[in-house]
Amino acid sequence: MAKSNEPGWWSLFSAGGVVAALFLPITMFLTGIAVPIGWLSAESLRGLVHHPLTRLYLLLLISLPLFHWAHRFRYAAVDLGFKGLGGLLPAVCYGGAILGTVMAVFLLVRL
């Protein structure tokens, strides 16, 4: 059998799927509803973002869901008829997730 990176990408997809399923809805509720309607102040959320554990939380919540997107979107795009893109589609997807992870590390360390 030819060597394939598939299991590695699938593991990241799966880990991202779990993290997104468990943590994203409540986090989205905080940033998209609780703050705008005034239950939570943006300033206290901003303070929380600077805590080391929150930074780790945010790194996982940015990186893994990006890899989840990359792997799922790659195949969904083909299902929707985007064929003939060859290696470009996976390169853009996984490359985007890697770039997002590097940016997240950079921005979170810089805070």
């Binding site: 997104a20 468990l22 409540i26 705008p36 299902d79 979170l108």
Partner: protein
């Protein structure tokens, strides 16, 4: 005898697939919605990245969270991500078959424990955020 080396093209039938195949059946449509939830999952990750990038400026950070664009996108993305959670939790027992001795652990128990974990994590994250208030 000379061997003709031009390979013969096989005559297999490749059925053309119309691009709107997923609109033709409810189950296909729900499958595609499930797959496309990844766009909102990834999109929110990008939003978090922008938010973190602005976290050193109190005014910009607050303005971003209160902007109509952010609120509007959240209202579209949140139901899609909740749909991701539900479909993900319901699929777990199908991917992960657990045996206890001779007995298969009930798929409902596995899916159920996912929902319990979801609830507990959501409360914990909310509690931490509101305690910091």
């Amino acid at each position: 005898m000379t061997v003709n080396s031009t390979p013969k093209k096989s005559k297999e039938l490749i059925r053309p697939m119309p691009a709107n195949w997923w609109l033709q059946k409810r189950t296909y449509f729900l499958f595609m919605v499930r797959e496309l939830t990844c766009v909102f999952v990834g999109g929110y990750a990008v939003f978090l990245l922008i938010l973190v990038g602005r976290a050193n400026d109190a005014q910009v950070f607050s303005g971003l969270l209160h902007s109509p664009l952010s609120i509007g996108l959240h209202l579209i993305a949140l139901p899609m991500v909740v749909y991701h959670s539900i479909t993900w939790f319901n699929l777990t027992p199908k991917v992960m078959v657990v045996w206890r001795g001779e007995e298969r652990v009930s798929p409902l128990l596995i899916a159920g424990s996912n929902y319990v974990a979801w609830l507990m994590i959501s409360f914990l994250v909310a509690w931490i955020a509101f305690k910091a208030e």
